[in-house]
């Protein structure tokens, strides 16, 4: 299974206006930087983006907000971002906020062929409005439906030509779940290896979930909150 494409341009060649795209990452950690850059270059419009966060001004999905390519954000936490705030308050940008655990589970469900599940998260809040409530174990739960996307774009540390992926540390986050939920899943990796280089025991995303893979040209890996301690 040879899934390698040359670069972001080839990987994203058929992403079109009005599509729904999942993008892995938590904050700026583990985001598909090269693919976001390519979306900016392509100028694809009116995208619905499913991503836990919306980047910051000038980086990550913030870049796509600046160029107004995003019609709707589906996220759990947004707004480290002035441009986001401006567009949201002006009504230019639709925003659908989802509890983080429900967002993760809804992506996994989408990839796993589970169309809906019950979760306690959000019961009694505005998130539950219009949703079915059912009591399990004496506790109210709401029904949440699966999420899928035309394209899922994920970022991994290492990948092989068969599409198997390994993530590093906390850069894993939503990436494996979104990889499952894309009709087409694109992986950009820091290091692309021949099939057989990765230990089959250590693979986080089996290649079956990945349709295209490429080695990213450059990873800036910006840090959002640099917190350090002094050496003694």
């Amino acid at each position: 299974m040879y899934k390698v494409v040359k670069n972001a341009e080839e990987a994203l060649r058929d992403i079109q206006d009005d599509m729904t795209i999942m993008l892995g990452g938590f904050g700026l950690c583990g985001i598909p930087e090269n693919s976001i850059g390519e979306l900016v270059r392509k100028g694809t419009k009116r995208l619905t983006c499913i991503s836990n966060n919306a980047g910051v001004d000038g980086f990550g999905l913030g870049l796509l907000l600046e160029t107004k390519q995003i019609k709707k954000m589906i996220s759990s936490y947004v707004g480290e971002n002035d441009e986001f705030e401006r567009q949201m308050l002006s009504g230019e940008l639709e925003v659908d906020l989802i509890p983080q655990g429900s967002l993760a589970e809804r992506c996994r469900a989408g990839g796993a062929g589970i169309p809906a599940f019950y979760t306690p998260a959000g019961f009694g809040t505005e998130i539950a409005e219009g949703k079915e409530v059912r009591i399990y174990n004496g506790k109210p739960h709401i029904l949440e439906e699966a999420l899928t996307a035309d394209f899922a774009i994920v970022k991994a540390w290492k990948g092989d030509t068969a599409g198997n992926l390994v993530y590093k540390a906390a850069a894993r986050n939503f990436n494996p779940l979104m990889a499952m939920a894309g009709k087409i899943t694109i992986a950009e990796v820091e290091e692309l290896l021949p099939a057989g280089s990765l230990d089959p025991n250590e693979i986080h995303t089996p290649g079956i979930f990945v349709q295209r893979i490429f080695q990213g040209k450059k990873f800036e890996k910006r840090i959002e909150q640099r917190t350090v301690r002094k050496r003694d």
Binding site: F26, G27, L28, C29, G30, N52, S75, S76, Y77, V78, G79, E80, E85, M88, L89, V95, L97, P99, Q100, G101, S102, L103, A104, E105, C107, R108, T119, P120, A121, G122, F123, G124, T125, E126, I127, W157, Y167, K168, A169, A170, A171, R172, N173, F174, N175, P176, L177, H204, K221, R222, I223, E224, Q225, R226, T227, V228, R229, K230, R231
Partner: protein, 218 residues
């Protein structure tokens, strides 16, 4: 005298029990990690996918791929594990985390919590808070007793949009430790030198005051 943030964190740290997995929210809750009582071993879970969080890295050793849920650079301790966000919330929803500490804008006498949205203001989102409060058996809220306008944050009913319903078990403020049982705040301890009268005056919700209210031992 009312506690400062560190005092609140220290008091909450006394609640930790050996072997617990703990999720700490942003702000005062994060400080709890600095005051783990001696002889107590706990492990910190961060909902972005880290178990076994350690202290901040030394200057120059930050790793962009290693952050906590507050997006701060961190380190890990021996025995740490990384996992995806679905597994992370499986830990939370499945009640494998024994204690959740988080901040709040309002708490009501039946344990409702509001901490994610102020109508008319920019909404940043609930992040993992709704999952955490709906799932955890043991939730401690760390917050100031009153808001900046001087109004009580311990209410009969929350006025802000809710994050979760009937879930908060304990509140630690700069003035007091309170349990929430059967639709009322129960005053458990007062901050050193703080009078019961002050706590009564600053608590809008139903408050049960026992005959003797011990001072916190910090």
């Amino acid at each position: 005298m009312a506690l400062d943030k560190i005092g609140i964190a220290k008091r909450i740290a006394q609640e930790l029990q050996n072997g617990w997995y703990v999720n700490l929210g942003i702000g005062i809750p994060t400080l709890v990690a600095n005051y783990i009582p001696s002889g107590i071993e706990v492990e910190f879970q961060s909902e972005n996918g880290v178990l076994g969080m350690g202290p901040f890295p030394f200057d120059g050793e930050e790793d962009a791929d290693l952050i906590n849920a507050g997006k701060q650079t961190i380190t890990t301790l021996p025995g740490a594990a990384f996992f995806d966000s679905a597994t992370s919330f499986a830990m939370i929803r499945g009640q494998h985390v024994q204690l959740t500490v988080l901040g709040a804008m309002e708490v009501s006498q039946n344990g409702d919590i509001a901490n994610w949205k102020i109508p008319g203001k920019m909404v940043k989102g609930m992040g993992g808070a709704m999952d955490l409060v709906a799932s955890a058996d043991n939730i401690i809220v760390a917050m100031m007793h009153s808001n900046k306008a001087g109004e009580s944050k311990l209410l009969i009913n929350c006025s802000l949009p809710l994050t979760g319903v009937a879930c908060v078990k304990k509140v630690v403020t700069e003035l007091a430790v309170l349990s929430i049982i059967d639709g009322a705040f129960h005053l458990i301890e007062r901050a050193p030198g703080v009078s019961v009268e002050e706590i009564i005056a600053k608590t809008e919700g139903r408050l049960i005051v026992p005959e003797f209210v011990p001072e916190m031992q910090l």
